[in-house]
Symmetry: C2
Subunit: 178 residues, 2 copies
């Protein structure tokens, strides 16, 4: 709702100006955080717009995609939380809605009676495929930014992720620069 379209002015530049004028520190970091948040808002907004046609959100899409890569299209919910990096209660909530819509089915884990398996249904897999095509068409919300540019972006973002302990493997960038 707030993703695309004019901002009248550069919100990030405005933030920088305010910060500098008030003699506040860590300006570059503040600008980076602000710019990151705004970029995320833009991209996520575009993605969710494209997914609304399928009555999906990015969260639910991610869950479907994760299951689609698992053997038999099923996975224990706890593992999903680890992979998606979300709280267990978020997995419960997401699976609740996916199950309600017939895209995923719950079943008891055969070897661990504490665990629950979430399994992709045929409908779920079909919808996932259609949704994936839609996301490819909008280039995952990255607008007209060229692939070569995205390589640089990924490279810079990896420095943020690795600073948080994420095991960042080579970014397979197209054009080198560092």
């Amino acid at each position: 709702m707030n993703s695309d379209r004019p901002a009248g002015m550069d919100l990030v530049a405005e933030a920088r100006r305010n910060w500098v004028d008030n003699d506040l520190g860590e300006v570059e970091a503040m600008v980076a955080a602000t710019s990151l948040a705004r970029s995320h808002q833009i991209v996520l907004g575009r993605i969710n717009s494209a997914l609304s046609e399928f009555s999906l959100t990015f969260s639910r899409y991610e869950a479907l995609a994760l299951l689609s890569f698992a053997r038999n299209g099923s996975m224990a919910m706890a593992r999903m939380g680890e992979r998606l990096q979300v709280h267990p209660t978020s997995v419960t909530s997401t699976i609740d809605r996916l199950e309600r819509d017939g895209l995923v089915a719950r079943s008891p884990h055969p070897d661990d009676r504490r665990a629950t398996l979430a399994t992709l249904t045929k409908d779920g897999r079909n919808l996932l495929n259609d949704a994936t095509s839609a996301l490819e068409q909008i280039r995952w919300g990255m607008g007209e930014v060229a692939d070569s540019r995205l390589g640089d972006l990924n490279h810079e973002l990896s420095s943020v992720r690795s600073s948080a302990g994420d095991n960042v493997s080579g970014s397979t960038r197209t054009n080198a620069k560092g």
Copy 2:
């Protein structure tokens, strides 16, 4: 809750692998969107952790900061929504909580009886200053990423923002590269 700490493996590299293995398109864009989302999650998580000590969230912090830069520390709510790029109902919700905590006060707009002014209270300004110091100390969640590196990151992010119509002015980068 999901921000920092190990991911066991590189979630983004894992996504790339799955995509390539399944012959899906727009891999670079998918990776960029995934990496952007994860980076945002990390940085926002750190920021909110730092702000929890003040019973603040980043949303509320942003609202306080915005007001602090306005004349008299007050602004019409609709304008806040424009600046923060959020839906009017989000402003209502945010101001509700800030008012509940005595950090902001509502008052009728003197020239427009439709509008409501949100004004920073003395407590609000004091808390904002303390919270800002805390954010500076954690470098706004940017971890150990050097300022020079942040300049590059800002540059790449600006290409995403400008693709969405944001008026991106010169990023005042420290070290050039394009």
